[in-house]
Subunit: 300 residues, 2 copies
Amino acid sequence: MTALFEQGEHVLVGPGDDAAVLRVRTGHVVVSTDLLVEGAHFRRDWAEALDVGHRAAAQNLSDINAMGGRAHSLTIGLAAPGDLPVSWALDFARGFAAECALVGASVVGGDLARSDQVTVAVTVMGACVQAPVLRSGASPGEVVALVGRQGWAAGGLAVLGRGFRSPRVLVEAYRRPEPPYEAGAVAAQAGATSMIDVSDGLLADAGHLAADSGVAIDLRAGAFEIAEPLQAVGAALNVDPVQLVLGGGEDHSLLATFPDAGSVPEGWRVVGEVRDGGDQAGVVTVDGAAYDGPRGWTHF
Amino acid sequence: MTALFEQGEHVLVGPGDDAAVLRVRTGHVVVSTDLLVEGAHFRRDWAEALDVGHRAAAQNLSDINAMGGRAHSLTIGLAAPGDLPVSWALDFARGFAAECALVGASVVGGDLARSDQVTVAVTVMGACVQAPVLRSGASPGEVVALVGRQGWAAGGLAVLGRGFRSPRVLVEAYRRPEPPYEAGAVAAQAGATSMIDVSDGLLADAGHLAADSGVAIDLRAGAFEIAEPLQAVGAALNVDPVQLVLGGGEDHSLLATFPDAGSVPEGWRVVGEVRDGGDQAGVVTVDGAAYDGPRGWTHF
């Protein structure tokens, strides 16, 4: 299977030995790890192996993106039942490799094991060209901005959960997210003060950022782009599409804070502002009020 | 749980953000990943959580050892059933942290997920002070040497498999291996030409080394140390204890080749020689002949 994984020039020793060896010229490594478990994070009847491979890579690559970095290397552990079709594992590896190729990262090692449930464990390594952007740097008075699709995966999941297969573009967005891979480094260079990738849900992740920064965040419901497919699914399911945007995760959009609207890079959309935390640190409001819509449109 | 993990000075950003950030002064990173699955690699009724934590760390730290390196950072993914006792997870984390502390490595990140089976995914990062020692560097005429306990875990497993609990020292060796963590770097500096950690079984791993080097290896059955507990378990189970040594894995001893006996560091024991591969590359013999004893004393 390792033959599927092309090795970048920074890979001094690739897969097949006790360990891989990577050249690191930057003086640091940004590293993150994520699990993807069948039945909790994906269903084999809802997503092709190729898509699960893309998603497993994307959710990890996105963590480096959210630090303002670029990924260069990944390892992958695949635990699977003995009767898992070889074609599933190969398609998974192909999808994984294809997603990594989008950012020029190499799969440098892995492990296979037997288990009852397909479980994918990925570790990703990368580098920043400037100081990493943490969750903890937001200050009152700054603007909150978003880049990338948001709510699309949640829309696709809502569609699948009701037995439908369209709008197809949302189902595809759920199966295979398209994180804005260049946007993290661009934001870092533009002076983003804090950043997080949206994977648990926009409100939840805004809450993580606010809590770690000791601030409150107010989002403006009217500021979000409600793309046509989200409007369509909202109408079909009798759901306010803003709920999909606010509660949705798994698109791996980025949420960041900037000193002011003028420093927000192209492609980002200002969606709220940072407020003084006081005894409300970590609180996220929508249009100045507590949000009482559904928060959970993640996983399934 | 992250409060259990002390962070070394090289950790610029520890657990809790989208990714950790490590200072890397060496210009390279040695990286490996391993899975540990309940039912395949451990049983909760045969090993305490603390021991499983030690073992999960040890098997990964050993991979860096086998490159001639020293580990500095690890990430850990834990997928577990919802009814897993919190105390199990905490004890596991304590054991994992304690094992990492033996070599001064930090647990810098992790992920938790729900699954039916306890599955542990670990990635370890480290560095070498010299060129990494690969599996592929052995040449005919060199000597083969071993360091660390070998066969003890297999002995412990054989004991447990028959419903016994003693010799206790072997059961403990199975539950909590004690890899010779300093020996890899010492061997590299002494001029080891190839190296591997014994995890699949001594004969199997000697075969990996021989295959990757394009050589054959002949081991001398009489050269191995048969410690007293191995003799005892051999007598009790009516098994030649050399079988436990040759077939055993999971002690995470190191097997390496050196140019000659004079270059073998203290603590290592010469146990065989490298022979011309010819059309026999990858073949491992014992006392010049094919070995027909049991090869599998690994896992259970």
